[in-house]
């Protein structure tokens, strides 16, 4: 029996495309609409979801004891818009329910005119739906445009003072953090709050200001960045709409390009410029979702704690989990290759899981550009070099928010090379954990390459740990040892200087597990059943590279143990 469109959407869709192509006249203006028309259940799903959201909104409105003069009308507009979307999709679904069987019947009968007629009816319904959604969007955007901007009293002298301290020349950027902190200590909380509201772009990223005021400023920045992203999405959509239908070869090349540079699943192989509108659209949409969640998701009823956000370039994002002021132990998770705004959920999940213990807070750090692909970016040291000082300065900024906690850095994969670079720049941390680390830091051959003091002259006392799963392919990264180029193979003496110059850009440092005084931790086994893994299964092989930072493994339990044990504690 031939499947009907509703019983087998994928098959029916491809049949439908074939039918459409067979009946389509050269140069016909009708769009190829059959794929969605074969999936009425997807369209009804939208109606059901909106019904659920409308019910939730009505319930919230009923349970609000105190209204707000602006919020009330805004919620009314939102409700109206949701009803427009609901009704538009319900009408579309009804047309699809009626027309799809006619298309299928006409196709089987080879009646091209009847196919065209039914498809035209579907296209008209789609157009009506689009116009109604656009009108509802316009109402919502008018509401957003009418928001009265807050006009706080001018932060004049405070702003000038903070900017003057920020822009002064210092022996190192660490001195700037201390100077900003000292200045902030002379300013009242209310003045800082005013500054955050008036100039969030100054306050949000400035190391040395209290974390609470940075979080406040970053909420405003998140809101602004969402406006920018919404405009970007619209521009990309317009560009995609204006594109002519591509050739088969072009389509295959575009798919290959996306597969190579994708960051949703496996780490990308090769980073490519993002000028492909399809890739751009996916990226912008993922950013919109992430920023909406950072603004309005409320885990355990509390707002998300954003210490840095920027959507420019590869993006910057730093998020804290747990109570920073009360924490006795603070861990900063520095992730590896593939970290960008899209994909930030991975370090976030590790940090969130580490902060699950009492007295422990954790931070997912993306305060610099990270390599995006393991073939053409992660072998190079430039990302680690440029992340070293921002990480060192951030650690200084968050570790002096009251009583200094026991501070750990957890560097995973390329993040290991970054924490090594930060150590070379004199980062003041108590514990460093190299997890499946790409190297001990650019140019590091032994612990003597790390300084004994930070740039302010304070002594550094560091406990170092390393953890690599057996069979983790990261060990190949350790084959390049710039101090011993012949480790790659026999190199004639006359070639040594040239070889050293050649390997220098790819020098991420020696294997940290070989450093003097390093304690090596066990990757162990899976302690729980997880999809794809059974309790008792060793954490090993290629998947072990990522599994070592997954809760539920011996490796993760070991990381948790060392970050929550200060020197002298057991």
């Amino acid at each position: 029996m031939t499947p009907t469109p509703s019983s087998s959407p994928g098959r029916a869709a491809s049949d439908g495309i074939g039918a459409w192509r067979r009946v389509r006249r050269p140069g016909a203006a009708l769009p190829a609409i059959y794929p969605w028309a074969a999936r009425p259940q997807d369209i009804w799903d939208v109606v059901r979801k909106i019904d659920g959201a409308l019910a939730t909104l009505a319930d919230i409105q009923r349970s609000l004891p105190q209204p707000h003069p602006d919020a009330g009308p805004a919620l009314g507009d939102a409700r109206e818009a949701m009803m427009v979307l609901r009704d538009a999709f319900a009408e579309l679904a009804e047309v699809v329910d009626a027309e799809s069987p006619r298309v299928e019947a006409a196709r089987r009968a080879g009646d091209a005119d009847a196919v065209r007629k039914a498809l035209r009816s579907l296209a008209r319904a789609d157009g009506r739906c689009r116009r109604r959604v656009q009108a509802a969007t316009a109402v919502l955007e008018a509401r957003l445009g009418s928001r009265r901007p807050r006009e706080p009293s001018s932060p004049g002298p405070v702003l000038r003072s903070v900017e003057e301290v920020r822009d002064r020349a210092y022996p190192s950027s660490l001195h700037r953090v201390v100077a900003v902190r000292e200045t902030a200590a002379t300013v009242s909380d209310s003045e800082l709050r005013q500054l955050a509201v008036a100039r969030p772009e100054v306050v949000g990223p400035l190391d040395g200001l209290p974390t609470w005021v940075r979080m406040l400023a970053n909420r405003t920045l998140l809101r602004r960045e969402l406006d920018v992203l919404a405009q970007q999405e619209r521009r990309v959509e317009d560009a995609l709409h204006a594109m002519p239908e591509g050739s088969k070869v072009g389509e295959v090349m575009a798919r290959l390009r996306v597969a190579l540079s994708s960051r949703d699943g496996l780490t990308a192989v090769w980073a490519l410029p993002w000028d492909d509108p399809d890739t751009l659209r996916g990226d912008v949409r993922a950013r919109i979702r992430l920023l909406l969640d950072l603004l309005h998701d409320r885990p355990q009823g509390q707002p998300r704690q954003v210490l840095l956000v920027s959507i420019g370039g590869r993006g910057r994002l730093i998020e804290a989990f747990g109570d920073l002021r009360a924490a006795r132990h603070l861990a900063i998770v520095v992730p590896g290759t593939g970290t960008a705004l899209r994909g930030f959920h991975q370090p976030s999940e590790t940090a969130k899981a580490l902060a699950g213990e009492p007295g422990v807070a954790a931070i997912a750090w993306m305060g610099a550009d990270f390599p995006l692909a393991f073939a053409n970016e992660s072998p190079f040291r430039r990302y680690a070099d440029s992340a070293a000082e921002p990480l060192r300065d951030f650690v200084e900024a968050v570790s002096e928010q009251g009583q200094r906690p026991h501070l750990s850095l957890v560097g995973h994969s390329y993040g290991g090379a970054i924490i090594g670079a930060a150590e070379r720049a004199g980062i003041l941390a108590d514990t460093l954990v190299h997890v499946a680390s790409a190297g001990a830091g650019p140019g590091v051959a032994s612990v003597r390459d790390y300084p004994d003091t930070d740039p302010l002259g304070r002594p550094r006392v560091v406990r170092r740990y390393a953890l690599v799963a057996p069979g983790d392919p990261i060990r190949w990264a350790h084959r390049v040892d710039v101090s011993r180029p012949w480790s790659l193979g026999p190199v004639p003496a006359s070639w040594l200087a040239a070889a050293q110059r050649w390997v220098s850009p790819v020098d991420l440092g020696v294997d940290p597990s070989r450093l003097e005084g390093v304690e090596n931790l066990q990757a162990g086994v899976w302690l729980v059943d997880r999809p794809g893994h059974r309790r008792g299964e060793p954490v090993a092989g290629a998947s072990g590279h990522a599994d070592v930072v997954m809760p539920g493994t011996t490796a993760f339990a070991e990381i948790r143990r060392v970050i929550s044990t200060a020197l002298g504690e057991n």
Partner: protein, 81 residues
């Protein structure tokens, strides 16, 4: 205090409705799963605007919660003096 608690709970739900998994989710999912639909090209703009309107309202209502909290705190502070 009951008013403040009720308001806080309702505003918390409104914040969640403004997240990507809230009211906008239907529009986002439709745009992602039905790209051939010409309506699909308008749905992210719709979902984003909807979430922002709800989120702005939630932020404004947070201020009401703060006011209620302060009001509820005053008698206790006075009693403690």
């Amino acid at each position: 205090m009951a008013d403040a608690d009720g308001q806080a709970e309702a505003v918390l739900r409104l914040h969640r409705l403004a997240s990507s998994q809230g009211a906008a989710e239907a529009a986002f999912a439709a745009a992602d799963h039905l790209p051939e639909l010409s309506t699909g090209h308008t749905l992210y703009a719709f979902g984003t605007a909807l979430a922002l309107v709800l989120g702005d309202a939630a932020d404004q209502l947070d201020e009401v919660v703060d006011t209620l909290d302060e009001g509820a705190g005053q008698p206790d502070e006075a009693a403690g003096q």
